[in-house]
């Protein structure tokens, strides 16, 4: 079956691992467990009439101690920039990561994900700040499950085009 590698990138604690877990296992865990290095999962999906195996590479969130290792995106068909809607700084980090990735690997399909939609009333990230980039954007809640599958399938569809 066709395989597509998709990488999850973003600041630490934005919910990358939770999004993958919600998508692959339909589970959400309140506990925060930081990702070390890379966590690799797979999920078979059907987009239209085509079946594809998504290899989901959940890359450790960038923090003050460690930078994203862009070489982990080698061979990726696309990536997902994850932002925590409650932390304005996480959008800045996503913008910075997108520039670095594009700078080193060239143009790759990606989507921007504003996670933690269940806490929408506490969001710091302004719609205007997101809109100014003109990127394909999804709102998700790994906790409630809303928007998660749609987002992964939308990217998968884009990769199959």
């Amino acid at each position: 079956m066709l395989k597509k590698k998709i990488c999850m990138v973003g600041q630490f604690g934005v919910g990358k691992t939770s999004l993958v877990r919600r998508f692959v296992e339909s589970i959400f865990d309140e506990r925060y467990l930081t990702t070390i290095g890379v966590k690799i999962d797979r999920k078979d999906v059907t987009v239209g009439s085509e079946s594809v195996t998504l290899m989901l590479w959940d890359l450790a969130g960038e923090d003050d101690l460690a930078q994203l290792n862009v070489s982990h995106l080698r061979g990726a068909s696309g990536y997902i920039l994850v932002v925590d809607g409650c932390r304005a700084a996480s959008l800045n980090k996503a913008v910075e990561l997108q520039r670095r990735i594009a700078g080193q690997l060239g143009p790759l399909p990606f989507v921007l994900v504003l996670n933690k939609a269940d806490l929408r009333d506490r969001w710091e990230v302004q719609d205007t700040a997101v809109a100014e980039h003109g990127w394909p954007t999804f709102e998700t809640s790994a906790k409630a499950g809303s928007g998660v599958e749609e987002m992964f399938l939308a990217l998968a569809g884009k990769l199959l085009q």
């Binding site: 604690g13 925060y32 070390i36 966590k39 690799i40 101690l65």
Partner: protein
């Protein structure tokens, strides 16, 4: 190889192009299939490994990052790949559980600490915003309340009414102090509060605290006794406001928890600190007392002796915590002694400096008055009560006050005429005081006072950043406002005033005449803007013929100049004449 397997390694040797052969037994965690199929992570590691094997340099091994994936049993396992240097191209896959857990515990701690710091910063910001809003909401009505008390005190009152009013005023002032202290509580916690260091009379501070506390104590039939030992120096240097607040807090609690008997305030020198100015205070009551096991915790924030205490007696439980901080800042300590049912004594010590000589008594000092008569003041405030208060404060000052209700109106009004002072409320509809300050500041250097109920330092900083001359915090006292005006408009400005004697029979019509001329200034400016020199000539002609008749010769001269310059189409001269007229009208003082 068995040893390596036992240690958690699977060992492979590169046997061909992207082909690896397992050496030794397969560990139980090794997924089925080729090594590259079993471990997708290798697709990013092997290119680096190939480079390493080709040119290893001085290194003996190349380690990959850790990765996590499902193992042969379906459990989540953590791995690391190692390319080993040597004649043979060996690839080790380590099941690195222990290393992973160590790395995770370290990074997890760092991330949780970082997230907690972000959360604390957000909460602190929210608290500051809440305090600023609360400050504004409380101070706005307090401004009207205390201002009216001040105006009331200037009206004829009998002795009894005056005494009530004094208690009202002092209680209001003290309430404001309490509000200020609560607002500052977070800064106290952060160690950012500054104590004042001014000369004060200890006996007076204690007397004031007792007078305020006595109102409630008397209502409960409690006696209030004040004992200052004779060897206590009463003229001190320190923070009388904070000391008063500590005493009021302790006396307030003593009154609250005592139904019969008496309250005593004792002040003596601190026997443990034999230095001048080190004092020991004790506030005793004959109330319900405090259980022994709670004596040490009552000074914690939001703590009361019993949850039922809050229900029965009210209070935030913050007062003793604030007092404790103040006492510590004064170089002392606070503690409690109590026998349940027999009463409590709250002790505290504090260190002050002893003042050298008594200050001249301020009693009988002259009230502040505006030095410059006839100042023209622009006042913008959407609250009718606050405008009424400012009018009341300035009613005998000889100032002319133009009132508007928002910042946009203030800017427009300012463009119409020159003002000596601009008073702007910070929070107004349409255009707030900060924005109005910026716009007016761009038009000239007139002193601008921002009147705000925001007491936090950030609000002051915001005012000055906008360009105001001074920031007056509501409730504003009359003397504070008048002193600020005197300071901003030096006496020298008086010399700009033009005193014009007017015959008595003309006085009733002079006001209307001058007002029409002020209207002419607006018409002249508008006419100049659209090069309507005929209108300028006509207005100039009218002024030329009337000014002298009222005793205003300069108006005649300016009118003549306007007429001539309009005929000559000399716009620069017309503009100068219009400004001369505006200045003359603003500075004129009819006598």
């Amino acid at each position: 190889m068995n040893l390596l397997t036992a240690l958690g390694f699977a060992v492979f040797e590169r046997s061909g192009e992207a082909s690896f052969r397992l050496l030794g037994p397969a560990p139980h965690w090794l997924p089925a299939g080729s090594v590259t199929e079993a471990f997708p992570f290798l697709e990013v590691f092997l290119p680096d490994a190939e480079e390493f094997w080709a040119d290893r340099g001085a290194r003996t091994a190349l380690y990959s990052d850790l990765w996590t994936q499902g193992g042969a049993t379906g459990d989540e396992l953590h791995f690391c790949a190692i390319a080993v240097a040597g004649e043979r191209k060996l690839l080790l896959i380590e099941c690195a559980e222990q290393r992973f857990q160590q790395a995770r515990s370290f990074v997890q701690y760092a991330h949780e600490a970082s997230l907690a710091r972000e959360q604390i910063a957000k909460l602190t910001q929210a608290k500051t915003e809440f305090l600023a809003r609360m400050s504004h909401e409380i101070r706005t009505p307090m401004n009207a309340l205390l201002g009216m008390v001040e105006l009331l005190s200037e009206t004829p009152l009998n002795d009894e009414q005056r005494k009530y009013l004094q208690v009202f005023q002092r209680a209001g002032d003290n309430l404001l102090n309490v509000i200020n202290d609560i607002l500052d509580f977070s800064k106290v916690e952060a160690g950012q509060i500054d104590l004042e260091n001014i000369e004060f009379d200890l006996a007076q501070v204690i007397q004031e605290a007792i007078e305020i506390a006595a109102v409630r104590a008397r209502a409960k039939g409690l006696a209030l006794v004040n004992r200052i030992q004779p060897n206590v120096p009463t003229l001190l240097i320190g923070d009388p406001g904070r000391l008063r607040q500590i005493l009021l807090n302790l006396l307030g609690n003593a009154t609250k928890f005592t139904d019969r008997g008496e309250l005593t305030v004792l002040v003596e020198t601190d026997s443990d600190q034999p230095v001048p100015g080190a004092l020991h205070f004790a506030v005793s009551d004959t109330g319900i007392g405090i259980p022994a096991d709670r004596l040490s915790t009552i000074f914690d924030s939001f703590s009361q002796a019993d949850a039922s205490t809050t229900r029965k007696y009210g209070g935030t439980g913050l007062g003793l915590a604030i007092s404790k901080r103040f006492v510590e800042l004064m170089g002392g300590k606070i503690w409690a002694e109590s026998k349940p049912g027999a009463g409590s004594t709250m002790h505290f010590t504090a260190r002050f400096s002893v003042a050298d000589a008594p200050k001249p008594v301020a009693e009988g000092s002259a009230p502040v008055v505006i030095r410059n008569r006839g100042l023209r003041i622009l006042l913008a405030d959407d609250s009718e009560e606050n405008r009424f208060l400012i009018r009341g404060y300035l009613k005998d000052s000889g100032c002319i006050i133009d009132e508007v209700e928002n910042g946009a109106e203030a800017v427009e009004q300012f463009k119409q005429r020159a003002y000596d002072i601009v008073l702007l409320d910070a929070e107004m509809p349409v255009l707030d005081g900060y924005s109005a300050t910026r716009e007016i500041r761009a038009l000239g250097a007139t002193p601008i006072f921002l009147l705000t109920a925001h007491a936090l330092r950030e609000a002051r900083a915001r005012s000055f950043e906008a360009g105001c001359t001074d920031h007056l915090t509501k409730p504003i006292k009359k003397a504070t406002l008048l002193e600020a005006i005197n300071k901003a408009v030096p006496a020298a400005s008086v010399s700009d005033r033009i005193h014009v004697p007017v015959e008595a029979w003309l006085k009733p019509v002079v006001g209307g005449y001058l007002e029409k001329r002020r209207g002419d200034v607006r018409k002249l400016r508008a006419a100049l803007d659209c090069s309507d020199y005929d209108t300028i000539r006509m207005l100039g002609h009218q002024m030329c013929g009337t000014g002298g008749g009222y005793g205003f010769e300069p108006i005649t001269e300016i009118g003549s100049a306007l007429e001539e310059s309009a005929l000559a189409s000399d716009s620069a001269r017309m503009r100068a004449s219009i400004e001369d007229l505006d200045r003359y009208l603003n500075n004129i003082q009819v006598e």
